[in-house]
């Protein structure tokens, strides 16, 4: 089997040098700090006297880490992908690739694969930290696998978005800013639009049901995330609020899980963005 040379080269150069280990170090350090502060804030780290351990705290620690990882994904992916094509253009290496018969879609797929691989490395490296909660129970392996799949597909969508802007815009910084703006729209903008809709048309007299939520939030990663953590979230917490915003009601029975809708959108949107990027990259169309 022939390996895409772009993947081979990018993996080699990305992992060479000090940047990749440093990124992993900071990423894991940050997660550990979050974990430590969380347990500290919940008074679970005291070494003095009798103290009853509350397993709920450990489960919420898992949720907190899961949410933090999603935030980090939203912040790191644009940086990893924003310069994928525009960086080649800035380094004046793009023409050397485009004057070959190598298909542009393979260039795009190679770049996306490498950025996802990089993110997967970060997520995989964080699994031992996430695994701390297994000592206390309450989180099972399927929860963790679902979360992992959710991250990978969300990273695919975010990576495709970054590559798309990197193909459209000549400068990396513009591509990164545009990716952040779009992510801002998908994550915060869709909530604002939904809130405005319910304010102007319903005066907030009723909570949105699942179908209305889906209509406004299908593209929002937090909408999908809501049902990924529904088994570990409790009603009276920020995680409970996320679950409610994914189902309409915390304990509602919905026909389809929000993560299925959100990940379905992510896959289709990624395919569209990759196709447009590959077409746009062709020097002679």
């Amino acid at each position: 089997m022939k390996i895409n040379p772009v993947i081979e080269k990018e993996l080699k150069t990305t992992m060479r040098g000090w940047r990749a280990p440093l990124l992993i170090l900071f990423y894991l350090g940050f997660l550990l700090l979050v974990m430590y502060l969380y347990f500290l804030a919940n008074d679970q780290l005291s070494t003095f006297g009798y103290q009853q351990f509350n397993p709920r705290v450990a489960i919420n620690a898992f949720n907190t880490l899961a949410l933090f990882q999603l935030f980090l994904l939203l912040f790191i992916t644009p940086i990893l992908t924003g310069g994928a094509i525009s960086g080649e253009r800035e380094r004046q290496t793009l023409d050397l690739l485009l004057c070959t018969s190598f298909p542009t879609y393979k260039v795009i797929l190679g770049k996306i694969f490498v950025s996802i691989a990089h993110i997967l490395l970060l997520i995989t490296a964080s699994l031992p930290i996430m695994g701390i909660v297994f000592m206390f129970g309450g989180v099972d392996i399927p929860n963790l696998i679902l979360l992992f799949v959710f991250y990978v597909i969300t990273a695919l969508m975010l990576g495709s978005l970054g590559i798309f802007y990197s193909t459209i815009f000549k400068k990396t910084i513009v591509a990164i800013v545009m990716t952040y703006l779009t992510i801002g729209f998908l994550t915060i903008g869709t909530y604002i639009i939904m809130a405005l809709y319910f304010f102007f048309f319903h005066r907030f007299d009723a909570s949105p049901n699942f179908y209305q939520l889906t209509g406004f939030l299908f593209a929002n990663p937090f909408f999908g995330f809501g049902t990924v953590i529904e088994n570990t979230a409790t009603n009276n917490s920020i995680f409970g609020a996320l679950v409610s915003l994914a189902k309409g009601d915390f304990s509602a029975n919905v026909p389809v899980k929000s993560w299925m809708i959100n990940l379905g959108f992510d896959v289709l949107f990624s395919a569209l963005l990759i196709s447009i990027s590959a077409w746009k990259l062709k020097p002679v169309k």
Binding site: V6, K9, T13, Q92, L96, S101
Partner: protein
């Protein structure tokens, strides 16, 4: 090997390439000469499949590149005037990457890379990072890259630009080796004497138009039909220009900073008469001689001529 017919590339109102036609046979080394902005790079980018022409056709090794914009790329090797290299790769890794891009089997690559590095005299640098190479070495590495898939046509845009004299000589030696290997090459350069030494044919382009095209000898002959005289004068040159304009054997006159160049169509006696007239008119002539027509002066003359016509 390469046939270009009425090629046009327009950017807004600017015609970068204007009805350019040329034909290059197999094994030819074609020198593409022109001032900056003449349209050389645009033409070469079109041939390399990196730009779409506004109109016209380009056929490489029998393949119409507009009809088959991807498949023909295996037939060409392109080296741009400005290019980047992946600094964080080693020399062999760099060539290995492009071997992969061209679909060359892994098992064939080490031997191929060794041969190419030997051709461009970089064998002793094979384990160096590309970042540690000099500009000249990077240029030669890029040349090796463009040869990796054994293309039928090599497109080299200013391969010696920005190189010091030693690196230029080294690059010239590599190009001579390629010529001896029977490669078909289209090469643009400002260093005209080097082109004259290397090329079998030359095309001179100005403002997107091909002014003249043919073998080096043909171009020399065309420009040599008109002799050029150069006259260096002290101080202002108005009276000298006036005098020359009065002479029936003088044609087009180019005024430079401290000398004049004029097309001359006459005998040595007529030339002597002009000098005599200049001295008689108290024009302070410092030097007066016929210019040796080499490729460079032919180019300058042709370019000067078109500038004056416009």
């Amino acid at each position: 090997m390469l046939k270009i017919d009425n090629l046009v590339k327009v950017y807004g109102r600017f015609r970068a390439v204007d009805n350019l036609s040329l034909e290059i046979g197999k094994g030819e080394i074609y020198g593409f000469v022109g001032a900056n902005g003449a349209g050389k790079t645009t033409t070469m980018k079109i041939i390399a499949g990196l730009l779409k022409p506004t109109s016209g056709s380009v056929v490489v090794a029998g393949v119409d590149i507009l009809k088959y914009p991807v498949s023909f790329k295996n037939k060409i090797g392109y080296m741009p005037d400005f290019f980047g290299v992946y600094d964080d790769l080693k020399v062999t890794e760099y060539l290995d990457f492009y071997s992969g891009v061209y679909g060359i089997e892994k098992s064939q690559r080490p031997k191929l890379i060794d041969e190419l590095l030997e051709l461009v005299n970089l064998t002793d640098k094979k384990d160096f990072y590309v970042d540690d190479l000099s500009r000249g070495m990077k240029q030669r590495l890029c040349l090796a890259r463009s040869l990796i898939h054994n293309p039928e046509l090599l497109i080299l845009d200013e391969p010696a630009s920005g190189l010091d004299p030693k690196a230029r000589v080294e690059m010239k030696e590599v190009l001579k080796e390629l010529r001896d290997l029977g490669k078909t090459i289209i090469i643009s350069s400002h260093i005209l004497p080097e082109l004259a030494e290397l090329c079998t044919s030359i095309g001179i382009i100005e403002k997107g138009k091909m002014i003249v095209s043919g073998t080096v000898e043909e171009i020399m002959k065309k420009t040599a039909q008109k002799k050029i005289i150069r006259m260096k004068v002290l101080g202002e040159m108005e009276s000298a220009v006036k005098l020359l304009k009065e002479q029936p054997s003088i044609g087009n006159i180019d005024v430079h900073n401290d000398y004049l160049e004029a097309d001359f169509n006459g005998t040595n006696e007529a030339m002597a008469e002009i000098l005599k007239a200049a001295i008689k008119n108290d024009i302070p002539v410092v030097s007066f001689a016929e210019v040796d027509v080499n490729l460079e002066s032919a180019f300058m003359h042709l370019i000067g001529g078109t500038e004056n016509e416009n």
